[in-house]
């Protein structure tokens, strides 16, 4: 038997010889990874929902009654040259009246001799540009323009939505760190137990001339196996669960395949670290 086959046999033997302990280890890591997956998907879904809502945000710029149409064209061109602007729609007084009618269902301005509604422009933005900082900057620029009387956009709502998004992201990061530490500690614990059940063998192998790498590799493989299998298990359950539970109003967003791949890779790396730290004292 060559050294690689021997190490592989030891690694499999470590798991197979204690099936209940292996299952227990696997399940506890699986639950941790599943918890992370759930928060991850929640975060992705919240982000998607946020992006969807925010894409509907636009700024309405109200224009001075006194400025002529030629000045309006100039203002439109100036605004159009600013960063992040996708489109500008001019709303004439008549358009505004029609919109009001559509919203309320009756013509409130029937008794007026002249249409008192102001002219305005509705500015839409490129998706990447939509955040409160950019919109506040644009708001300040627009307010400095001659002919602009008032600007409206849901600034407070935007700040709250961004704050919510930030909190969800921070929870995900925090939970990710906590889970990574928990997985490492759990893996260390499992590997220490695994090594203790084979203490006699480790002592004799050391005396027979086994080096640290030869002794450690089966246990490091064991750590990687538990973490990889647990992360894959979490992934399978999530993919299966999403099919089972469908929500009417919310699209559940799953991370792209490449991110799942990195997730499993990170899981394996955490298992490797845990495996090494678990066996280190026995070397």
């Amino acid at each position: 038997m060559n050294r690689f086959r021997f190490i592989l046999r030891k690694f499999i033997g470590n798991i197979v010889s204690r099936p209940m302990a292996a299952l227990g280890s696997l399940l506890s890591l699986f639950l941790l990874f599943l918890l992370f997956d759930l928060v991850w998907i929640t975060s992705m879904t919240v982000n998607n929902y946020y992006d969807k809502i925010i894409s509907e945000i636009d700024i309405e710029v109200f224009l001075d009654d006194a400025i002529p149409d030629s000045t309006i064209t100039i203002i439109k061109d100036v605004i159009g040259s600013l960063d992040g602007i996708e489109s500008i729609d001019f709303i004439s007084r008549d358009d505004a009246r029609r919109k009001l009618n559509d919203m309320i269902g009756v013509d409130l301005l029937e008794g007026f001799e002249n249409n008192p509604l102001p002219r305005s422009m509705i500015i839409s933005f490129e998706p990447d540009y939509l955040n409160s900082d950019n919109l506040n900057t644009l708001n300040r620029d627009l307010q400095r323009m001659a002919g602009v009387t008032d600007i409206y956009y849901p600034s407070r709502w935007l700040v709250k939505a961004e704050y919510t998004k930030l909190i969800v992201s921070e929870i995900l990061i925090l939970l990710g760190i906590v889970i990574a530490v928990a997985v490492i500690l759990n893996t260390i614990h499992f590997i220490v137990l695994s090594a203790r059940t084979r203490a006699e063998e480790l002592v004799q192998l050391r005396l027979l001339g086994a080096g640290p790498a030869f002794l450690a590799v089966p246990y490091i493989f064991e750590g990687v196996f538990y973490a990889l299998a647990a992360s894959l298990g979490g992934l399978v359950v999530i993919l299966y669960g999403v099919d089972l539970f469908s929500f009417r109003n919310i699209d559940i967003i799953l991370p792209p395949t490449v991110e799942w791949f990195y997730f499993c890779l990170a899981g394996s790396l955490i298992g490797l670290i845990g495996g090494y730290l678990g066996i280190r004292r026995e070397l």
């Binding site: 027979l208 001339g209 080096g211």
Partner: protein, 220 residues
């Protein structure tokens, strides 16, 4: 240090509570020689083995094995040295929950013996030690004599150049003791370098061996 397989130079060692075990221990084992070191229980025989295999670090002095200065905190170096040592008794034991065959396999794997060679070599050694019928027996189920025989087989299976044998006759009856003694004489005659530690030298006479006694922290 050339010519000597083991060289202990002015080694001092204290045990728990500062009790002096060795004061100025000097020992040298030339290649292909057998040294029988005797001493009463507590004289430091096992500690001497531990010094040689790098399980203990001396308080003073130096330990050289195969010309290399033994450093306890260098696991890679120790692994290289230990591969060349076949150990029996004391710290060296069989792995009780593995078969005789598996126990014999370890030195072959660690010494990177060719896969094609391993099986034949194990069969050959098992026949030589009259253990062929016990090849698939768990080591824990063997009698004390069989355990010592298996450890002796393990100690030479990968042509390890040095054998460290701690109390080879402990716990065996006279018949088995005689058998083990014959094996040791055969190994000594075959030119194996051996250090045998015993508390009962009268029971273990190896012709042509260097006979030393551990006394007052040194060898006489």
């Amino acid at each position: 240090m050339s010519g000597s397989i083991i060289e202990l130079v002015d080694v001092a060692l204290s045990g728990h509570g500062g009790k002096k075990i060795f004061a100025h221990l000097n020992f040298s084992l030339p290649e292909s020689e057998t040294a029988v070191i005797s001493g009463p229980t507590g004289a430091g025989k096992t500690q001497m083995v531990k010094l040689i295999i790098g399980n203990l670090s001396p308080d003073a002095g130096s330990v050289f094995i195969f010309g290399k200065f033994v450093k306890v905190n260098k696991p890679w170096q120790l692994a290289g040295i230990r591969k060349k040592i076949g150990g029996v008794g004391g710290a060296f034991r069989l792995i009780s929950y593995q078969t005789v065959y598996e126990n014999l396999l370890y030195p072959m794997i660690l010494n990177k013996k060719a896969v094609s060679f391993q099986k034949n070599r194990i069969e050959q050694i098992l026949s030589r030690f009259d253990l062929i019928g016990r090849r698939n027996e768990m080591a824990g189920n063997l009698s004390q004599g069989e355990k010592i025989e298996t450890m002796l087989a393990r100690a030479i299976i990968a042509d390890q150049p040095l054998l460290l044998i701690d109390e080879p006759l402990a716990g065996v009856d006279d018949k088995m003791a005689e058998r083990i003694k014959r094996l040791l004489v055969r190994l000594s005659t075959a030119g194996h370098s051996m250090v045998i530690l015993t508390s009962n030298p009268d029971r273990l006479g190896i012709p042509g061996s260097i006979n030393l006694r551990l006394e007052n922290g040194g060898l006489v």
